[in-house]
Symmetry: C4
């Protein structure tokens, strides 16, 4: 199996894992940068992540145009992905999701921040993008244009995660596994932070040095890959592992 | 398959989806207006939504009387559906549900409102109907008569959603898919709003122009139908899709 | 099938439903009064409700002694059931459970009360039994004796439900279906009440006349039996329905 | 089947139960002391608990070195287990987990404590270990060395449970079943305590005499083993029971 086939297959696994873990539901999408051509990426056609197969994966240029003929409907918000790949050569995988437990932080003035070790690599700073800031208060909140995608990417800046007001978030990975692992723990971190705040006492988060130490862990080391193998099995696509 | 058979089949799918998504449980019901005769609608006999099949679908006039002989028990609250169809020619599908996460807003003085984009089409105004206002404080809270159904429909007015005190809600759709999609996101919006309020900070909801923009989206466009296809598959009735 | 066989079979279904609905988990138990002999009742041997079969059902006198030889371990807290049957000739089914969402009300000074229509028949008054009141602060909190069971039954008095401090609750039914239906909605009512309280506004509960109206509904009418049929199917014991 | 084979098989069952009960997820691990040699213990190789089989169980000395050749990756945090076995001859099973509902108490100044009877045997005192206290604020929070494991074991002291700041907890058992049962109820106790606190009233916990009475129950009595049998069946490894 060559690198392109592996990328497409792994993207199917990522879709299934993130759907099974309820990071994605009927909506949301995940992409991977083309392994040979950094100006392109792979993303599914418009379909729910839980039922995506290899044939549903489409190659795109970073302005959201499919490479080759593609008659099937595409995600309206596909411009998110290319804009991040353009702005961030260090990033090779992108997720846009609406995971429910993250949403409160997209509409609240209370900041989101890492409080558990396995989400420490979300980084110390998590910006919030409000589409109304540059595109007015009459949009349907969807990222429907290249310009909107680039505006979101500017807010993301050098961070790993950006929240989107009343909408969801984007997360990024150095590898696809890195993205999936982080994205599973982001909603968990949100639940823990919300529950701790409701307890009413003082809260200890992660120290800056601890966040840095988490970011320094090799995302492809065995411990960091343990989730991928297990979650794929749980999601019913263990047969797509390996190679 | 003709329009009537398709309406009956789609109503089975809607029941299964809404049960699987926990919008409905053992109780609650969903209906569709007759595709040829606007004075009639289809609704199941008294049965839990998760186990309804095509044979369980009954044709009703809007005063809740079955068309043709029907010896099986009927939903006590079937009068809800006809009353809404009578009052709202623009509406072709109606749901009555008790989804748990919406219930707190039916008994609290804190108003329900859209805060996430995918629930933006619930509209800006969500009235609360209290059966005690016009029918006294000794009812069992069920909508057992045509008069009670019409009173509820008057409270609904031109909105898409009305809460029912200590009981549940009704939601409406221009199409059946429109109804199902909205109804899946209504409890999610409730959970996000509740969680954001508990954070204790300021909350940004949707701007009026954003709500209008969400309502302007074609409910039968591919993006708005994506959920139906996925949820039906998840609910185990993917074989009833198509045609 | 005679009345005794039917009672035993229905008790298996009740166990399975309550386990599947997470009212019961590995622990907790449900009983039914003997259909011919009001001085006896049926209850399982010591086994988790989700895996109980007909052979596990044992006949007991109300002081918790098995009728006939029984070498298998018995529930330590079986004395709860007989004590309620003794004190309440109107009651034909009893549950003891630890459903998690009810537990906060067993340790809080905030009173539990019905706020949703389908739990209205829990009644207006829900006493809390504290084993420490009459048996001291050195027990393991289990109802291990006839005397403790009778003390609990005295606290229950003429109500349908009694909470047990740091432990759980007992609920009662005129019929087994009546018990199961109520017991499914009791934790749901707890969740809705807790969520509404957290919203911070004013809360409307049920009016006394509404509670009375709910209690006046025939517990064996088709609408009140709808849950049993659906939940049994969901719990995988639809084959035990009927007759 | 000899004692060693039984220990290994039971450890597989414990892994599966704790994964199915969501005490463990992709991460976390459980061990058992060697039945004949108190200076050794069994623990899986680096693998998610839900997919562990007998072949994955490795024998370790208490400094975390595998007995015999072992080329497969090992848990980075395996040093936790040996350190507890060294310090606590009364303990024969150890768990390290990140169960989500316990995490808020690891970062909050509000103390964790038993409030429900089935978690009463967690004991009256639950220390919190902060890795930063003795190892600085630049670690990745993982217990990567024998010294860190021993520091954690010192904080555990004579208690059954210790929380780990921003990370998770360790729990201990006199037997493996004792550990599993406690560990299932610890997150439940956390949920009940959090929910009761949010109610805003006064809270009654367990009396010291009640905690002592719970700890005095034989952990291998039929009532205390009931969960193991049921949970193993639910987790799909009922075939590994018995003998």
């Amino acid at each position: 199996m060559d690198a392109i086939d592996r990328a497409r297959r792994d993207l199917v696994v990522a879709n299934r894992i993130l759907a099974h873990q309820r990071v994605l539901d009927a909506y949301g999408h995940v992409s991977i940068r083309h392994p040979h051509d950094p100006t392109r990426h792979f993303l599914a056609r418009s379909l729910s992540p839980g039922i995506i197969a290899t044939d549903d994966i489409v190659e795109f240029t970073h302005d959201g145009v499919p490479v080759g003929r593609e008659a099937r409907p595409l995600y309206l918000e596909r411009f998110i992905h290319g804009a991040v790949y353009e702005a961030r050569p260090d990033i090779n995988a992108v997720l846009h999701a609406h995971a429910e437990d993250v949403l409160p932080f997209t509409i609240s003035s209370v900041p989101f921040r890492p409080v558990i070790q396995n989400a420490g690599d979300m980084g110390a700073s998590i910006p919030v993008w409000d589409i109304a800031d540059n595109f007015g208060t009459d949009t349907d909140l969807l990222v429907r244009t290249v310009a909107q995608g680039r505006d979101l990417a500017r807010t993301l800046s050098q961070n790993r995660l950006a929240l989107m007001r009343s909408h969801g978030f984007i997360s990024t990975g150095r590898t696809l596994n890195d993205l999936v692992r982080l994205s599973v723990f982001v909603p968990r971190n949100a639940r823990v932070l919300m529950a701790a705040m409701r307890l009413g006492g003082e809260i200890k988060g992660l120290h800056p040095g601890e966040i840095a130490a988490r970011l320094a862990i090799d995302p492809e080391s065995p411990a960091m890959r343990r989730g991928w193998e297990f979650w794929a099995t749980e999601a019913g696509c263990g047969d797509l592992l390996g190679g």
